[in-house]
């Protein structure tokens, strides 16, 4: 009896294993593991990075990101900007088809942008094209955007995916997010929510048909699972591996590990409305007490580079030499002397404990915070880490209840996106509650002018002022984007962290 059971079980296992053709072995099928679940693929509302990355495979915009994040023609083959910077006219390619075979025309562009601009729709993308007053179709292949005021970074907002107007009417606008259909290189085949998305190459894609005939996107949040999926051949590509796992992949010949800077800036920030954080000497001493130069490489490893600017190294202006030399330097004696003096002067109260707030979903930042707290205590300032759930922390930050915080931020490649929101007095993300007229003027001026040299100079001024003079934020590390791939994947290079560049102006990824 027992033997029969054993034989039965063994046979069952063998039978099942007979089906076990490894999923990624197919050469035209590309399986990707991403870190989070895709929730909504409406091109008018893709503000969460996983959604954005997948939507970018299905939808194309008027313009696109090319090499080094330069803007290159997309659906629009050409465009002109009026001298006063208030009118943008885009010439569309003829014969660009949506996945349902209909031609993309100016009307679809107008439809896509008017949705985002509609205040009732509540799109998070609206902030990027707020300056647009009206969008109109001059003819089938010409679209004109009229701005209420010049806004130099507007062109980045022209990368938003274009949806089909007639299709949206057919399925219902509110259902676009679950039934995406665009004019991009891949079309949606199957969406098994929370598990996987299957895309297939769109044979009439205007640029060139994708080499990969099928792309499967799987959400695998657990880093160790992603690593094992790579090793078992279940996926071709993984994007969120821990430092320890990355090192073993880097040494393994069966895998390629490619990295690119610019996946976000990790920084510390201070609250200008809370004592003693609003005291410049105190802020300087806090930074001086901590050996960041030594800690960052140890903690971040392959996943980050030491940062001296708020802007990623892939973005202009590059002022990191000046900033590196002029940011507060590690000097524990000076720090502890300052702390002693500030205590004597009553700036730091007797029972004061500096709390470092950090999101518990960012283990590397938590480690930095722990090391920082140790250093501060050694320098004579009582400090502790408060690692909390991000939503709660974000809420407290908004209400100004946090004095010292760690954050990570990533955005599109224009300095305006990285600086305006944080340092403008009424900036949407001014969590430091920092106010400075000069900085406000520089930030506004850099939006209005489109002369590159002028903008570079203005942003250099802003950075020098907020980072070295006023110490609003202290940049710690630039996160690196790391792709781990099977060794037969060709042509996939990390670039803009908000895209997965499978089919781009310069690349068309394939498997050998």
């Amino acid at each position: 009896m027992q033997n029969k059971l054993v034989i039965f079980l063994l046979t069952a296992v063998l039978l099942i294993s007979a089906f076990s053709a490894v999923q990624a072995a197919n050469h035209e099928r590309f399986v990707m593991g991403i870190e989070d679940e895709v929730s909504d693929l409406d091109p008018g509302n893709t503000i969460i990075s996983v959604n954005e990355r997948v939507a970018s495979l299905i939808f194309d915009g008027l313009v696109q990101y090319g090499e080094d994040n330069r803007i290159v023609p997309g659906i629009a083959h050409d465009w002109t900007i009026s001298e006063d910077g208030l009118e943008y006219v885009f010439e569309l390619r003829e014969g660009v088809l949506f996945h349902n075979g209909e031609e993309l025309t100016a009307e679809d562009v107008v439809f896509s942008y008017e949705r985002i601009l509609d205040p009732d729709f509540g799109s998070g993308l609206k902030a990027k094209i707020e300056a647009v007053e009206s969008v109109e179709a001059l003819d089938d292949y010409t679209v004109k955007f009229t701005l209420s005021e010049p806004y130099a970074p507007l062109i980045l907002g022209m990368t938003f995916g274009i949806a089909s107007k007639s299709y949206a009417e057919e399925v219902g606008e509110e259902n676009l997010g679950r039934n995406p259909m665009g004019a991009g290189p891949f079309k949606m085949e199957e969406w098994d929510a929370g598990n996987r998305i299957v895309l297939s190459a769109f044979e009439d894609y205007w640029r060139t048909e994708a080499n990969l005939k099928e792309v499967i996107i799987r959400s695998i949040p657990e880093s160790s699972t992603q690593a094992m999926e790579l090793r078992s051949g279940g996926i071709d590509f993984g994007v969120n591996l821990d430092v320890g796992q990355l090192e073993t992949f880097a040494e393994d010949e069966d895998f390629q590990v490619k990295s690119a800077a610019g996946a976000g800036i990790n920084f510390a920030g201070f609250n200008f409305e809370m004592e003693p954080y609003n005291n410049r000497e105190f802020r300087e001493a806090v930074i001086q007490a901590v050996p960041f130069d030594q800690m960052i490489p140890q903690i971040f490893g392959l996943l980050g580079d030491r940062a001296y600017s708020m802007l990623p190294p892939t973005l202009w202006p590059d002022d990191s030499e000046y900033l590196a030399a002029n940011l507060p330097q590690f000097d524990p004696e000076a720090a502890s002397a300052t702390f002693d003096r500030l205590k004597a002067e009553g700036v730091i109260e007797n029972n004061f404990v500096a709390e470092v707030f950090v999101s518990n979903s960012r283990p590397d930042q938590v480690k930095v915070a722990e090391a920082m707290v140790t250093a501060l205590n050694q320098a004579g300032l009582r400090a502790e880490v408060n690692a909390m759930e991000f939503g709660t922390m974000w809420d407290m930050l908004g209400r100004g209840e946090i004095g010292l915080f760690f954050l990570r931020f990533v955005s599109d490649p224009d300095p305006d996106y990285w600086l305006y929101r944080f340092f403008k007095s009424d900036g949407a993300l001014n969590r430091a509650f920092y106010e400075d007229q000069e900085v406000d003027q520089w930030l506004d001026a850099a939006r209005v002018t489109s002369i590159q040299e002028e903008r570079e100079e203005l942003y250099t001024n802003v950075l020098r002022k907020v980072l070295t003079e006023d110490i609003v934020f202290y940049p710690m590390a630039h996160s690196t984007q790391i792709y781990v791939m099977q060794d037969n994947v060709v042509g996939l290079e990390p670039g803009n962290s908000l895209l997965i560049p499978l089919v781009t102006p310069t690349a068309n990824v394939y498997k050998e």
Partner: protein
Amino acid sequence: MFGYMLKRMLWLIPVLIGVSLILFIIMELVPGDPATIMLGTNVTPEAVEALNEKFGFDEPFHVRYLLMLRNFLTGELNSIYYNDQVISIVGRRLTATIELGLLSLIIAVLVAIPTGVIAAVKKNSIFDFISMLFATIGISVPAFFTGIIFIYLFSVRLRIFPSSGYGGPFYTAAGMRHLILPALALSTVMIASTSRLTRSSMLDVMKEDYLLTARSKGLKEKVIILKHAFRNALIPVLTNIGNQLAMMFGGAILIESVFAWPGVGRLAVRAVEYRDQPLVFGSILILSALFVISNLVIDLLYVLINPRISYD
């Protein structure tokens, strides 16, 4: 019996209303505003206002509660993060959750109960010693760690099973292949606790006088063990299984993470992180209903096992 079932089902209503109210109050108290979290770095006051209006967050407390309850019952409750109806989001994941829970339950029962009975009957034997050693290990090692070990062993090394993901319904080959490892991993803790409980419960029962009577009647040992001892020992075991099953439906979050399993548990965590109130509300309510129903099933099973228990 039918009357009892009906009564229990009716009880479900006040229980779920209570759960929904407590849930709603907790969500109110938790700091963090869905619109701000959702918009992340793209936040502007106008966008926050627009979202709040869209999802009715600017209404007073009781209006929002009743609205949410009504929308949940009519299936019109919309998730903020997923931009889709809560009922269909949860529905798609419910199959995965139930399949995982039930298969691990079946594995656990098939392994744990015979092991526990044999260990009790052959008390202090090698079998007893080894199986209880494994049971202790099983209780001490967290299921997600067992999961990682299984993946390494069966997917990376032996390449028999895929390491993660959902492969389709359990009756398809791909579905079953994907289901086996997470179900095995999830069942380990239950196997461990159930086999230990079966063993001690059997040992207790075997000291009872009526077993002495049965033996003196000259009944065969097999009949004594299976018919007289086992059925009586099963009651506490069943209670334990009921609790564990409920835990499996809602609490398999770590296993779901390790195996990238699209279950309701993971969904609920995600919903909380994004302060997606409608989705938290809907998914937890459905999990609570599952919990209550599985307990009802267990209560009904008591009758089958022990005729002395009656609900009439």
